[in-house]
């Protein structure tokens, strides 16, 4: 055990390294171990290449990164399921990990008995479990079923019981892996509240999750692990934006690579066909036709180069955004066609960010382009502030049509009688090619709010009327 450099830290991790042997043909039988000893090849895959961070007592941090980046390995090292190849981990206090739910459950035993088994695996003694038993049962909302065998539970009930045990194991440090997606929405909300309670009690929390909003709600800090090293670290919202943008770029790169491959294949096919169809003598004039054929390749190739230039370095947190974008915007795309201005207005042309439910609104998009022979698919998206995709459409969906791109132009969408219910929303705008190549794509460009007098709930208003005893309800019909 080393010495903590700072008394206030609950976790200190220094230069953590971990590699796995990946066997090409994993053999753990004796024959494979002895007979093919020389041929037993493996590759050492470095999952963590030196990670250092510390977590203060009572702090909550989130670990994010794409699959295989090393975040789960980090959590496993912290929970001592695995040991690092080198580097130090120091933890202060009792550690509990919510990595696996329902460990040791026996289907034939009752819920109550399984609470004892499961909690004991988390290291609780009988007395400690006795003390928590009521809390656990109450939290699970399974009072009526608690003495029935677990095999009679639905999967939702099973998970509820498992989570209730896990969340009621007190600890100074809590390690959580992707488990807040348990049960129905109500129960999820409850689990979430409980996490916040636990945090308020001063527990240090480390969460690995793909759900960025959840991390934003609980954590003060996000650590983004990429390729076994810490790529970025800081306030969750900013790190997540950076992360999302990078993910988007990666996705685009892949898309474009595929796109290009497809184009190349098409080209090759074409050439082959040409060669088969036109033997030798007509070989002189492939020029014309080829030029035309090559066209689809151009949009696929160039963006890649641009992307490389545009790729944010590890230091760069945000790209300069034009004034018509909100500071929360994320802008991606190859910029062959660019938005020059985007306005959210009412039908009188007045810029507004608060609309009534039922009011019409207009999104006016100005663009410019250096290339004039492109076709653009203009689209908008509306997201509620909790990330729910409220609506999205584009010219291709609406009119099965694309916009012929000029040097400069203006595209306007008018939404008549919006039926969104009161909430905060974000507007996204985008210009794509027909095949989905992004020319310009701005997320969260304009935040806006919908208000209403009616108190109906949900995402959007569904027009309705009520009939009582065959008579349609009109207005208030009673006195109080």
């Amino acid at each position: 055990m080393g010495v903590m450099t700072d008394e206030k830290n609950a976790i200190e991790v220094r230069n953590l390294k971990k590699g796995f042997k990946v066997y090409f043909d994993k053999g753990s039988t004796i024959k494979e171990k002895l007979v093919s000893k020389n041929r037993r090849k493996y590759e050492k895959r470095e999952v963590l290449r030196g990670i250092s961070f510390s977590v203060k007592k009572g702090e909550a941090i989130g670990l994010i990164g794409h699959n295989g980046c090393g975040k789960s390995t980090t959590l496993k090292l912290l929970s001592r399921i695995m040991y690092p190849d080198s580097g130090q981990i120091e933890m202060r206090g009792r550690v509990s990990s919510l990595i696996e739910l329902g460990a040791g459950f026996h289907p034939d035993m009752s819920g109550r008995e399984n609470i004892y088994i499961n909690a004991s695996i988390f290291g609780l003694t009988r007395k400690e479990i006795d003390r928590r038993l009521n809390d656990i049962i109450e939290f699970s909302e399974l009072e009526e079923f608690i003495d029935n065998p677990v095999r009679t539970y639905s999967s939702g009930m099973y998970m509820r019981l498992a989570f209730s045990v896990a969340i009621n194991v007190d600890a100074d440090i809590l390690l959580v892996d992707e488990i807040l997606a348990v049960g129905d929405i109500n129960f999820q909300e409850k689990c979430f509240d409980r996490m916040r309670e636990i945090k308020a009690m001063g527990t240090t929390i480390v969460i690995v999750s793909h759900s960025l909003p959840q991390i934003e709600q609980i954590c003060e800090r996000t650590i983004w692990i990429d390729g076994g090293v810490i790529r970025d670290e800081g306030i969750p919202k900013y790190v997540h934006e950076h992360y999302l943008k990078e993910m988007e770029n990666k996705r685009l790169e892949i898309l474009e690579r595929e796109e290009r491959k497809k184009a190349e294949e098409k080209q090759r096919e074409k050439e082959q066909r040409e060669q088969e169809a036109k033997p030798e003598k007509e070989k002189e004039d492939p020029g014309q036709e080829k030029d035309q054929e090559q066209q689809p390749e151009i949009p696929a190739q160039q963006p890649e180069q641009e992307n490389i230039q545009n790729k944010p370095g590890p230091e760069e947190k945000k790209e300069e955004l034009p004034p018509f974008c909100s500071p929360l915007s994320i802008r991606i795309g190859n910029k062959k066609i660019q938005f020059t201005d985007v306005k959210l207005m009412d039908t009188d042309g007045k810029e507004k960010t608060v609309f009534k439910s039922g009011e019409s609104f207009v999104v006016q998009m100005d663009y410019k382009s250096d290339e004039q022979d492109l076709l653009g698919n203009f689209g908008i998206g509306i997201f509620r502030d909790d990330g729910v995709h409220a609506y999205g459409t584009n010219t291709l969906i609406e009119h099965d049509s694309l916009v012929p791109i000029k040097e400069k132009g203006r595209v306007v969408i008018t939404v008549t009688d919006n039926c969104l219910l009161p909430a905060r929303y974000m507007l996204d705008v985008a210009i794509h090619s027909k095949d989905g190549i992004r020319y310009d794509d701005i997320r969260n460009i304009i935040p806006f709010r919908i208000t209403a007098n009616k108190k109906d709930i949900g995402l959007c208003r569904l027009d309705n009327f009520w009939t009582v005893d065959g008579r349609r309800m009109e207005k208030r019909e009673y006195e109080d």
Binding site: S79, S120, R126
Partner: protein, 258 residues
């Protein structure tokens, strides 16, 4: 030392695993827990029929002679063979949750011990009913004998469970080893039948002295020769230390190998 403390802290887990195993085994069967007693009783019935009707041997009450040795032998061999898979069978838990891994072999061996103790109740009942009787003066000596066997079984289980994670064949090899070991231990025969010059070798097998001691107490109703047990005690402690150290080394990579 801190490891031992930690394992002590996890004592409830050991108890729950044992309970789960014992309760879970016969759950769903009509007779349920009664099988724990019925099983050895029926075994005894078979031995009685076979050895007093078909294969008569020169030993008086051979079925009892065999039975009092077989029950402790089964404890040992199931610790050996079953112990080898006790980590692999809890793969998901080992990969996902931290707990001192020693808990698993300890729970397994202790569970086998409890099984044996329950079977011993049947043995006592049979001894009393058959008129063979029990010598109350010799009975307390059963306690150190059981303890010595527990030490041996635990040491062996530490080794077999941890090595099997890396070398899965061991599970199958051990079944054969357990069988050979049984024939090399005076379970089915008396130590007197072993040629004089081979006996020193036989005493090197710690299970020989353990089984002989069980038989002394339960069958011959006499106080066992504790000096023959000394070798077993030494080997038991040695095995336990080796097993403990080996396990401690190998457990670091369990989660990756599984």
């Amino acid at each position: 030392m801190s490891k031992i403390q930690e394992i002590y802290h996890y004592r409830t887990m050991i108890a729950s695993l044992i309970k789960r195993d014992l309760r879970g085994r016969y759950k769903g069967s009509v007779l349920g827990f009664a099988w724990t007693f019925l099983n050895p009783l029926l075994q005894l019935g078979v031995y009685t029929v076979v050895f007093s009707v078909i294969m008569r041997s020169g030993i008086e009450d051979y079925y009892l002679f065999l039975f009092v040795a077989l029950i402790p032998w089964i404890f040992f061999s199931s610790s050996l063979t079953g112990g080898s898979s006790c980590i692999i069978s809890q793969k998901e838990m080992v990969k996902k949750i931290y707990f001192p891994r020693e808990v698993l072999p300890i729970a397994h061996v202790t569970c086998q011990l409890v099984n044996m103790l329950l079977s011993l109740i049947v043995v006592f009942a049979v001894l009393l009913v058959s008129g063979k009787g029990i010598n109350p003066a010799a009975l307390p000596f059963l306690v150190p004998v059981v303890l010595v066997e527990y030490l041996l079984a635990l040491g062996i289980a530490f080794i077999s469970s941890s090595v099997t994670v890396y070398l899965r064949d061991l599970e199958h090899i051990l079944i054969i080893i357990a069988m050979a070991w049984q024939f090399l231990t005076p379970v089915m025969y008396s130590i007197d039948m072993v040629p004089e010059q081979l006996r020193p070798v036989f005493w090197l097998n710690p299970m020989s002295s353990v089984i002989v001691a069980y038989r002394d107490v339960l069958y011959y109703k006499q106080i066992p020769h504790l000096n023959t047990l000394l070798v077993a005690v030494g080997l038991g402690i040695g095995l336990l230390i080796i097993g403990w150290l080996l396990f401690g080394r190998l457990e670091r990579h369990f989660a990756e190998e599984l």
